[in-house]
């Protein structure tokens, strides 16, 4: 009995360790929203990634950089513009066209002059600001975080980002909101110092310097999907999840093969074990 208790407890420790790290905050728990990329068989929907890229491109990228992303990534396997007929992203016309829309700072190799040239698939996504000081100056002192791995850098990243984007609310009466700040119940924070109402009922959440970025029909989706705020948020979260973990599908597919292999191997080794030990009393 004792041994079983210990075994169960050890298993519990292993499984709960990750959860134990989450700490208590005053913000509202993220909304429950399901994404197609979740779960062991989840995959990215290419049409959704394309819509998400459009939201990033037309809305987010005016303030947020994605320094780890290159244009070629858009055309790699499981990416938004992957084309099985052109597996090399450098041959992908969408990738080339998207890259060419940008002007990239460079140095003329003949003269050494600073020039601008059209982007190529090898170029990184250009940053909206030349440096951090410029980014802060343009955003009331706040620094828009880089979005490359943002989804992995937040607890329940996809749900959290979706909740922020769709969770803006009118500040409750009695909450003092400074200019350039916006109330959002899903942002971690402590509003007690800004709250003039009942001290036992401080509103959840905190302030964020980003104005509500998404408007209904703020972008026009090429595939005819209605661009509600929820739809835009869902699509851009899918895109950001892909950007944070571009090898996710490859990982899950590899994992399925590895699991099948290990289960068969376990069966074979267990059968060998039973056979080798069959004449030993133990």
């Amino acid at each position: 009995m004792l041994r079983k208790v210990i075994a169960l407890a050890a298993l519990g420790l292993a499984l709960s360790a990750g959860q134990a790290l989450a700490s208590g905050t005053t913000n509202r728990a993220p909304k429950h929203v399901e994404f197609g990329f979740e779960g062991p068989f989840g995959t990215f929907d290419q049409a959704q990634l394309q819509r998400g890229y459009k939201v990033y491109r037309e809305v987010c990228s005016s303030c947020h950089g994605m320094t780890l992303m290159s244009f070629r990534n858009l055309g790699q396997k499981h990416g938004p513009f992957y084309d099985a007929d052109r597996p090399n992203p450098n041959d992908n016309p969408y990738v080339r066209a998207i890259a060419a829309e940008y002007q990239i700072n460079d140095v003329d190799s003949e003269t050494g002059d600073v020039i601008q040239r059209p982007g190529s698939s090898a170029d990184r996504f250009p940053n909206p600001y030349p440096n951090e000081a410029a980014a802060r100056a343009g955003n009331g002192g706040a620094l828009p975080p880089d979005l490359s791995v943002l989804i992995k850098a937040r607890h329940h990243g996809p749900q959290y980002v979706y909740s922020i984007l769709t969770g803006y609310a009118n500040p409750p009466a009695g909450l003092k909101v400074s200019p350039g700040q916006y109330y959002n119940p899903y942002v971690p924070g402590d509003l007690a110092a800004f709250w003039t109402g009942d001290s036992h009922h401080v509103p959840p959440g905190g302030f964020i310097a980003m104005p509500p970025p998404l408007r209904p029909d703020g972008v026009t989706f090429d595939d005819g999907t209605r661009a509600t705020v929820e739809q835009q948020a869902k699509d851009v979260v899918a895109f950001l999840t892909w950007a944070a973990e571009p090898k996710m599908i490859e990982r899950k597919q590899f994992g399925m093969a590895a699991m099948i292999y290990l289960l068969i191997l376990a069966g074979l080794v267990y059968a060998s074990y039973r056979r080798i030990w069959r004449n030993v009393a133990h």
Partner: protein
């Protein structure tokens, strides 16, 4: 079958020639094939083999990662992400290495608790146990420095918190900290030396593992009864009996490992470590990796910094003298009806300490309940729960085990390993010695 033990006989001319000059094949044969092993080892004994396998996994993946990683404060974070994105199967190698560290600690903790329950540290295995404690220490140092290398927010601020602890030591503390940092703050020199040491220490561990196995092969394995091997009837050759049993356990362990690597690769990590290190922004809640949480709780249980540091190191130090603290002549707790319950409480205490280590010290354990302020904090707080658990942790080693060995009446211990084995699973005859497993 069980009584027959193979011996090494060189078969070819070359093997006979080599055997007279460097009997390395003979040594390998006697270590991994012929080695007589008690036939009653249960699955708790497979974690030695699992640990050896995990060490190989960590070395192999780590060497590949080092080919691509850049140990510089400006490039470390992005070089890790480059491994994830642009290196062929880099995501696999990196996730195996990061989760492999956690798997290594799961296995080592089970290995240590198995040891504590079955009294494997007792004579004549004290040196074996002490080498094991040294391996555990080296593992902790390696894991800590490895976690710093991605240079995320938790890497950086964890390194600041832990290295600052040494500053609490009187007289030499500040000098040691400066020397460790290679400057006056955690910065590029710190990252460089941590990378160097993170590469070095695993090979130190490998050397210690060789000594650990050597020290194991002199007295041989302990076993669930704790009774010494009396005759060849009690043993089977290591190969194929335990290669296949360990092999099965390793495959099962790898299924769990693969579950984390492929389906929850970031579950055991902290999201803040995907934010590049920024010395000017301190995370709201700095927590170490899960395997350090019990020690973190002990550290924070003491209001005085130096006292906390000493107690934290003492929690590991006390393990080194355990063979001389436990006064009981009976090894296995199967035959120690009282000690068994204290052991269970000890195990739960370690889990509670880990839980406390993940929480803010002043937060209430039971939500929305304030009792009364005791000393510096409400009694219903994690800091007081940590204190109670810390007190039991040390009491178990320095009070309970020494006293219990003298006062407890153990159950009758079987004559030999074969005695209970041969009567099992026949209807239990009178006499406790006959079927001790059923009482476990």
């Amino acid at each position: 079958m069980a009584g027959h033990h193979p011996t090494y006989e060189p078969k070819t001319g070359f093997e006979r020639w080599l055997d007279l000059r460097l009997p390395i094949v003979r040594m390998a044969y006697e270590t991994a094939v012929a080695f007589p092993t008690p036939k009653n080892l249960n699955y708790w004994w497979t974690f030695g083999g699992i640990l050896a396998t995990m060490l190989v996994v960590q070395l192999a993946t780590g060497i590949v990662l080092a080919m691509h990683y850049v140990p510089h404060v400006d490039h470390a974070f992005n070089s890790v992400e480059r491994i994830m994105r642009d290196v062929n199967y880099g995501w696999l190698v990196r996730y195996m290495h990061a989760n492999g560290a956690s798997m290594f600690f799961i296995a080592v903790y089970i290995h240590i608790f198995r040891n504590l329950y079955y009294g494997s540290y007792k004579a004549p295995r004290e040196i074996l146990w002490i080498i094991g404690c040294l391996i555990y220490l080296a593992m902790m140092a390696t894991a800590f420095m490895g976690y710093v290398l991605p240079w995320g927010q938790m890497s950086f601020h964890g390194a600041v918190v832990i290295t600052n602890l040494l500053g609490a030591l009187p007289v030499v503390g500040e000098a040691i900290t400066t020397w460790l940092w290679g400057g006056f703050a955690v910065d590029n020199p710190t990252l460089n030396r941590f990378f160097s040491l993170h590469y070095l220490l695993p090979f130190v561990i490998a050397g210690l593992v060789a000594l650990h196995i050597w020290a194991l092969h002199v007295p041989g394995n302990n076993n669930p009864t704790g009774v010494n091997v009396k005759s060849v009837e009690d043993t089977v050759p290591f190969h194929p009996y335990y290669t296949v049993k360990d092999g099965f356990a390793i495959v099962i362990f790898f299924i769990m490992f693969a579950g984390f690597v492929f389906y929850g690769p970031n579950l055991l990590g902290h999201p803040d470590n995907y934010i590049p290190a920024n010395p000017l922004v301190t995370p709201a809640h700095i927590v170490p990796e899960w395997y350090f949480l019990p020690f973190y709780a002990i550290l924070r249980a003491v209001p005085d910094k130096l006292g906390g540091v000493l107690l934290m190191f003492g929690a590991i130090g006390v393990l080194f003298v355990l063979p001389w603290l436990d006064t009981s002549k009976v090894r296995s707790m199967r035959y120690r009806p009282t000690a068994r319950w204290y052991f269970l409480i000890f195990f739960i205490t370690c889990l509670v300490l880990g839980w406390c280590g993940a929480k803010l010290p002043d937060d209430p354990v039971i939500p929305n309940l304030s009792t009364f302020i005791l000393g510096d904090s409400d009694l219903n707080s994690y800091v007081w729960l940590s204190r109670i658990a810390t007190a039991y942790y040390f009491a178990y080693f320095v009070i309970i085990l020494p006293v219990l060995g003298l006062t407890e009446t153990p159950l009758p211990v079987p004559e030999s390993i074969s005695a209970p084995v041969l009567s099992h699973p026949a209807a239990a005859p009178a006499g406790a010695a006959a079927a001790p497993e059923s009482r476990g």
